[in-house]
Amino acid sequence: MKRLWSFIALELLRLLATIVVMSAIIFLLVELMPGDVAQIILGQSATEEAVAALRVSRGLDKPALERYLSWVGGMLRGDLGQSIYMKGVSVNSLLWRRVAHSLALALTAFLLFVPLSILFGVVAAVKEKRVADSIISFFGLATMALPEFVSGVFLIVIFAVTLKWLPLVSIIPIGQTLWTNLRILILPALSITFVMFGYVSRMQRSSMIGVLHSLYIRSAKLKGLPRMYIITRHALRNALLPTITVIGMNMGWLFGGLVVVESLFGFPGMGSLLLTAVKTRDIPLIEACVLLITVIYTLSTRLTNILYAVLNPRIRYQGGQE
């Protein structure tokens, strides 16, 4: 148990170091973006006086190091700054609303693809080299090969245009909330499910096949245990490890990297907010979004490592330098 805790502490230290380094890199990259931000914001009719006034008003005239330190200081206090455009509107008020929407979308997709992929992966493994296996494998490969913007368009054509069951674009009508419009989550979540299903179900299938061919499963069968009991209690438990890794590795993408899916469906999540921020060069917003995505990616990777260590003691022995 002590070893596990020291492993977790080490992982958290690594997480912190990554975030510190990343914050500097993000700030530097945004600094290096071509063009004068004030000029870009004011557009073609910007005059020198207008550009200078905007720089002063948004603090862009201060040295980069000073701005970096004040940004980091603000973050430590939980203040992510103000949007360059909406003077007086904090990035916090823009960001967290979108994060909540993206979390709802990620959770919906998660609830759809995880049970589906594991179920069909197991079925394919149990029915190895039979018709069911071929169909599931083919479907998995096909959905994996289709980028989400292609499968998304298919889904839109079927469910929104032809059947008219679901809205074409996943916007929240004015004056309403996401919680009263949960149906707008279905199409984007299905689109994500299409992408993830192939990865996860194939991973589940191959690890399950490996386990089903092992000696202890054979002895379980010879002991006369019921087939379902062997599959769910003996085989699945051990065959889940690689699947958890794949899911864990993709959690960062799922919670923060859905730029394409959110843009395609017009969904008001963090991905589409980031796209808007980049397009309009809203620096504090870009920095906040990218940093948050970095934190989610790093956190999900580290959490996967920890979960893995909990499930598989050999990892924590190595990880704990024992």
């Binding site: 063009g35 557009g43 006034a53 008003s57 674009v169 149906r183």
Partner: protein, 502 residues
């Protein structure tokens, strides 16, 4: 396990279907127009970048407005205006008008709005245009006299610029202008979710009791054009301002959607007269002889000349009264070749063409221009950059460029900015005393007939020796057929107060 999975799905589906249609909707008797437009940039008048037109144009108001059909001026906050010589202007203002915060509108607000253009802390985009103002005298609460440093017989046109919305002198626009815009307009901002949507409701104390015709304007801010168009097709919005010509082809097949060319915008092909090879007028003429307006209209805007697309070789828009028809030059490759040879380029000439490749029409235009000019010996290398890079690093510096320009209701404003030798945005690097003198005479001539003659002379000069080609592309607006009375003039200030929906 299978049972558990099925149970999870059933729970999700039931939960999601229960939420459908359970939300509050506006009362059925209320009329609502829903619009999908770009995510706003800066919106405070003075530094407004021209995005979010539905939002700003509905909240704010101007002294005068432009008729979308004939470009004439209509009284709004000013009931009438007069000038004897173009140097002293008297504006009589509408009585009984209130700002959305309840404060009354008067002559002091007009004085504040114009004086604000010169405040360095604001960084007002119209500072240069209003530097001509010498004094603003408030005669009484509803009369203001503006004295200019020199004669400007078309000065009133400056008050139609989208950054010249009349502001309340009591309101803190520097701190509230971006999140709580407030004016005297026909609609009041009711709520705004930054970068997502805004709800505008009818101003019940609007000075014209017959307007606006609808109760609510719902504005969705959407970055992606395809998403906006999908919202229109899916009946989630009623209007999408500014779609592409390719989208128009797609929407033309839709029975409930119309696409209209609201007005035109310039795309100036500028040839710098101080850089090779266009320092020689024969090369400029040769290039002009390679152009074919019909092919350009078809390839750039999927239309024909006169149907929202225009072509000429002067700075003036074809649709303005100041425009004089010069006749078509006609495409003549042999003549273009011989002109190039005369200019010392018998084997043709290679030249880089710079443009913003993400700006509407620019990519298609640059490619078509290169194709058309090639047979005469112009080897045009296309140098497309994202618009912000183009504007900050190449624009005004390079020798050959395509740039988008908004149309001006008074072409004299554009002439001073872009074609006078000291103009801040002089793309072709003109330093021609003939052009400067004509521009000055146009700006100060009070007699319309004489002014029109100067315009004609200027256009002839540009036709013979000019350094630009003026291509005018349509700004396309897609609307559902149940939207009527949509008016969107050249000033960009869309007039939703006249719009209705069945």
């Amino acid at each position: 396990m299978i049972r558990k999975t099925i149970l999870i799905f059933v729970i999700i589906l039931v939960a999601f279907s229960l939420t459908a249609g359970g939300a509050k909707e506006p009362a059925k008797t209320e009329k609502t127009i829903r619009v999908a437009e770009n995510v706003p940039g800066l919106i405070t008048p003075g530094v407004w970048d021209g995005q979010a037109i539905t939002l700003n144009a509905s909240i704010y108001e101007y002294l005068v407005e432009v008729d979308a059909v004939d470009n004439s001026l209509r009284p709004i906050l000013a009931t009438d205006w007069s000038t004897d010589d173009g140097a002293v202007w008297t504006f009589h203002l509408r009585e009984g008008v209130k700002f959305h915060d309840g404060t009354p509108f008067d002559a002091w607000d007009v004085k504040y709005t114009i004086e604000r253009t010169q405040d360095p802390a604001v960084g007002h985009l119209k500072r240069a245009d209003f530097a001509v103002v010498k004094a603003i005298d408030v005669v009484d609460d509803h009369t203001v006299v503006i004295t200019l440093k020199e004669k400007r017989p078309t000065f009133v046109m400056q008050m139609t610029d989208y950054n010249m919305a009349i502001l309340s002198r009591h309101y803190d626009y520097e701190n509230l202008g971006e999140r709580s815009p407030m004016g005297t307009g026909p609609f009041i901002l009711s709520q705004m979710v930054p970068k997502e949507n805004a709800l505008l409701v009818r101003n019940r104390e609007y000075w014209d009791p017959a307007l606006p015709k609808v109760d609510r304007l719902e504005i969705y801010f959407v970055t992606d054009l395809d998403a906006k168009v999908a919202m229109l097709e899916g009946n989630q919005v009623d209007v999408v301002p500014f779609v592409s010509p390719v989208t128009r082809l797609r929407l033309d097949a839709h029975p409930n959607i119309n696409v209209i060319a609201a007005y035109q915008e310039h795309r100036f092909i500028a040839m710098a007269v101080d850089q090779k090879p266009f320092d020689d007028n024969r090369v400029r003429l040769a290039f002009k002889y390679t152009m074919d307006p019909d092919i350009l209209a078809r390839s750039v805007a999927q239309t024909t000349v006169g149907e929202g697309f225009y072509y000429n070789e002067s700075p003036i828009m074809n649709t303005l009264v100041e425009y004089h028809e010069m006749g078509r030059r006609g495409r003549d490759i042999a003549k273009a070749r011989s002109l190039l040879e005369e200019a010392g380029y018998p084997n043709g000439v290679s030249v880089d063409l710079y443009y913003a490749n993400d700006h509407p029409y620019s990519k298609e235009l640059s490619q078509t221009v290169a194709e058309l000019a090639a047979p005469a010996g112009f080897a045009i290398n296309l140098k497309g950059f994202p618009r912000d890079i183009y504007l900050t690093q190449y624009w005004l510096k390079v020798g050959f460029s395509i740039t988008g320009w908004g149309g001006r209701i008074d072409p004299a404003i554009l002439l001073g900015l872009a074609f006078r030798s000291d103009g801040p945005w002089n793309e072709p690097h003109l330093a021609d005393p003939v052009i400067d003198s004509l521009i000055d005479r146009i700006a100060s001539e009070a007699d319309e007939v004489v002014r029109s003659r100067y315009y004609q002379q200027l256009q002839q000069y540009f036709y013979d020796e000019g350094a630009i080609i003026n291509i005018q592309v349509p700004k396309l607006v897609a609307l559902r057929t149940n939207v009527t009375g949509y008016q969107h003039p050249l000033t960009m200030i869309v007039q939703y107060k006249y719009a209705d929906i069945d």
